[in-house]
Symmetry: C3
Subunit: 214 residues, 3 copies
């Protein structure tokens, strides 16, 4: 759906998507290590982290098959990664610094939000519901990961504008799409995706905090 809108640049998108899934799985592995889980449980947590958001979106939209059913290779990749998770974590902590990790994660956040919103709209969801479904796609994987590990979801606890970036970008896409402002949905998708990415990176760089509910 999302990919087909980008046929011109689909290979790049597939590569980016794979990076984002790997980053999500890796975040699961890292959290699983903190709780000293074994290899199989590490796979479960990494898998939930990578595919949980899209699966929840598809359950809510009553859409089958799931991403990990259609693209089994990704599921098998996460399984193989889990087998070598300790090695991957050591490698990644050496080569992937905070900037690179945040960037890959921000790419995942922006891609999944906008693809989720776009899929929801194309299936007839009204605008606000589509925004929520986009945000769910992007953040639910991390929420399941943290529920499985019995900790308050990181995206809820930490008052950094993570969900808000996704929310703002999804709103922007719905507006652009609704009023067909630029007369080409591919451009709308690209702009909204980039806006989320830029907002997330800026808020990370300047360490912006949201006001607490006090």
């Amino acid at each position: 759906m999302f990919i087909s809108s980008f046929t011109q640049i689909s290979n790049i998108v597939i590569a980016i998507e794979a990076c984002a899934l790997i980053a999500a799985a890796l975040s699961g592995f890292i959290e699983a290590r903190k709780k000293r889980l074994d290899i199989v449980s590490t796979f479960i947590v990494g898998f939930s982290s990578a595919f949980g958001g899209g699966t929840m979106r598809d359950i809510l939209l009553d859409r089958r098959p799931f991403y990990w059913v259609m693209h089994e290779n990704y599921a098998i990749l996460v399984f193989i990664m889990a087998l070598i998770a300790p090695f991957l974590i050591r490698i990644s902590s050496k080569w992937i610094n905070a900037l690179l990790y945040t960037s890959i994660d921000a790419i995942g956040l922006s891609l999944f939000t906008i693809s989720g919103t776009s899929i929801a709209l194309s299936m007839g969801s009204p605008p606000f519901a589509a925004i929520i479904l986009g945000v769910v796609s992007a953040v639910f994987g991390g929420i399941i990961r943290d529920i499985l590990l019995n900790q308050i979801p990181y995206v809820l606890k930490n008052n950094t504008p993570y969900i808000s970036c996704a929310f703002v970008g999804a709103c922007l896409y719905v507006l652009l799409h609704r009023f067909n402002i630029l007369n080409a949905d591919t451009i709308h998708l690209l702009i909204a995706t980039m806006v989320i990415f830029i907002l997330r990176m800026l808020s990370w760089h300047f360490n912006i905090r949201l006001p607490k509910n006090i």
Copy 2:
């Protein structure tokens, strides 16, 4: 479904339903504040609290669209409420005393239980499954809220007869409906709803406790 059974008094039901949703969202905001969440996370928790039960019921019944997709206004209302949550909490703690809050919550409990049971029956669920689906509709929102906040669900932990009131009322409705005792389903719905409300208020007033599983 539920509402259409009440066409005569549908406006009152819509108003009561809105109150119940607002009460559920408010309970989410209050719990979110205890964990010092930011505004966006507060919205997520309030939203899950208000719509989680109905959404779970509809997932189990394979029923679409969800309430918050069909009635987007309520979702947007919860969003706006989240923006002013600190203000709402202060207001509500001043004006809404325990009796009023418990009453609104009990109205929500009774309405959602009986509407859930009635929807499940109308979709062909057998009696006991319909009772469970009614109870799920009424209490799952609060359960998701507490899972997100990493605490034992209040309705499970606290040995007050909360779920039991819903359960008894749902059983009563199924009996009335099955044997068509009063020959008018609207009356059955009304009676069962009122029974749950009265049981909940009585058990609250007399501070009744269920025996623990020891």
Copy 3:
């Protein structure tokens, strides 16, 4: 589905299945007692424990009606068991020793894994997805139970090869089924089920531990 493959021995399978469900519900009651829950909450936890895995599998496969909707008697049985849970727990702690409990639980693990995998394959899931769905069927009930009780899921925390036994058996079944090695699916089902059971009992007896993700 699973049962129909076993028409010759279907009565035995039904009896075993009932034992496995009762064992799962009992595990929920025991955990609920540790948190000092009341009788109604005990039912909720036992019910989720017994039917959570199959329900999740059916949600993922978009399959209705659920087991507990189709076989209401089992749901009612769990309800009655919850009413006498303290009594059951005392009885079971006297008569059911660790070997018997582990055996019943291992039967449940093997039956639910292979029936889940087989149902998923028959609904067109690709092999790796079918393996995951089988594992989900078998272990998700316990995961929900522990999420409700706000503890890290036992099957994730404890580095015993529990999920791994299910995983290996599901892989074996998919291989046998795929290449139709023994030319009779009933035999494939039986072999894979027994392999899981034997692996689980051996790993329990020799107290085998999986390497931690360090």
